[in-house]
Symmetry: C2
Amino acid sequence: MMTVNQKDLARMAGVAVSTVSRALNGRPGVSEETRERILSLAEEHNYRPNKMAQGLAKQKTNMLALLLPDLKSPSHHLIIEAVEAVIEDSGYHIVICNTQRDEIKGKNYLDLLKYNQFDGALIVGGTRLGRKLVELSWEKENNDNNMVLINQLVEELALPSHLVNYRQEGRLAAEALITSAGRSADGSSPLVMFSGHHRDYVEEERREGFAEYCRERGMNNFRVFEDINTREEGYQAFLQVIEELYPLPAGFYLTSNLTAAGLMEAIKMGGYMVPEDFEVVGTGDNYMADMIKPELTLVDEPLEEIAAEAARTLLGLVEDEPPQEMIKVYDPSIRWGDTTK
Amino acid sequence: MMTVNQKDLARMAGVAVSTVSRALNGRPGVSEETRERILSLAEEHNYRPNKMAQGLAKQKTNMLALLLPDLKSPSHHLIIEAVEAVIEDSGYHIVICNTQRDEIKGKNYLDLLKYNQFDGALIVGGTRLGRKLVELSWEKENNDNNMVLINQLVEELALPSHLVNYRQEGRLAAEALITSAGRSADGSSPLVMFSGHHRDYVEEERREGFAEYCRERGMNNFRVFEDINTREEGYQAFLQVIEELYPLPAGFYLTSNLTAAGLMEAIKMGGYMVPEDFEVVGTGDNYMADMIKPELTLVDEPLEEIAAEAARTLLGLVEDEPPQEMIKVYDPSIRWGDTTK
DNA sequence: TTGTAGGCGTTATCAA
DNA sequence: TTGATAACGCCTACAA
């Protein structure tokens, strides 16, 4: 029982392929009677349209890709869920491509887009394929490069982007740490920031915002650590801090909840108290919020909303609707928890 | 500058399409001179083969799918990495499909396989699409259903499967808890198992193995909790246990490292000691091992090896090499940590 | 070495 | 309402 195609159905029903196609696709121009005959034949013989042929004829695969730099970050899980929810019954499929922050891998996945294997792609920040993107959009001359960026900004080209005002995030964190304890005056105890991948645009912005605000407030005694990405690294970094820094810092700003978990554990292990000994400001969604006690004060970003909006933009693009706005910037806000005074 | 195809190249080079195709694919029958002319034209005009057309002609997409029940479990990350490493330079692409343990979603992704959108699929346990699988393999009559199962067994059909002897896992855990403290004799303090999704084949086997061994050793005083999946649920389940169970249990067997983390935290919070007050046996890879202190005693499973082997089997299948063995069962082992006496 | 022609499975156009 | 027929872009005999 080989796989049956429209030609087979046509032969069986004694009609032409074009009629079969019309019947199958619910298009007008077929009598109710023939349509039913064809449909039941299709059902009976378990007909499945060949997506490649459809794609070739319609120039469409109905597949979308979600490119992620890694799959371990809780915030990426949030993005995945939000995107999948939007795509769910849009008639498109969404698959996940894990670039592992590797430029080659990212390029390979983008090639699939170029080769018409995907109709469009959502590219999440940290994916690191700047040059490839440029090349791609150049080739197609801003025409049908159906890509939407999340948490990423590539200056050279005009792709719809959805992102948070990251600089403002850094500023908010600094503000929270500096003002909450009225510490701005003396500045004897430093502030510490644990930042992530140092080449990420997002992280760069956060660092700059943090430093910027500190300096504006005359608080020049701060220290920034980069490439602290895992729980374990957060744990270790704290040990390093209490060893190297004197006086001990008054507060920590972390850009990842994973490392925040490590930090909190290290603090507890060391016998210190939060927020009495150290204040802590975390970042992002509350995905891990209830994993960490006491509850973190967070620089909150509307990740789900961003991801959902980006997905909708992409759906629009592949249906040839131009995006409303090219760059949409979302505002972060502070959500006070129990780790600041 | 529209997208250029072989016909265009042929016109530009003043040759036939077939010559272009041969040149591009490095096949014999083209003079070195024409080949170079064609290749440089292709380069110059940025020619990209249309994958759908190729697929249609060759009946191949070179895309493989990895179906996962969720993306949050650390063990799934391990699987993803191992699979991607094997596929990496095989000439195939691998994309991840997140079924969220939803039968409809799983079915939709498998449809892509059926519709020739993918050449093959790796299906990880917990994905829950039993009926769909049966239907699929029935349709194709065990012919070219290029699917390989990981941590899953579907009795009705003969698909290559790679899995651990889960029943043995449960037995090992019970053995570790019962013998390590010589507790088998009295059995006054019960043993507790925190199990995951209750419909998972894997979890069912673990539960049965655990119960089986306990009974064999005359240890009938044990209690099994199901659907404990997250860190938080592990935390809460412990609270429930110390409230409901008297006498307090002597040991815990957990099938997820995530919940183990929650349990350990709850134990600490409650002021208890491990292994003095409770012994704990966890499960699986050591991915989170260094997140949990003291180091867990684990029922160890060779997940990377399984995933890699399964991926290789799939690569074989799509190249029409029949699998060596249909069902490959891997043995678990105990790795002693500091949470047992 | 090269070109011609047919096919892969669908969709779409135009006559009938 | 239907049926030929020509795309879609590529591959592959077979013929020249």
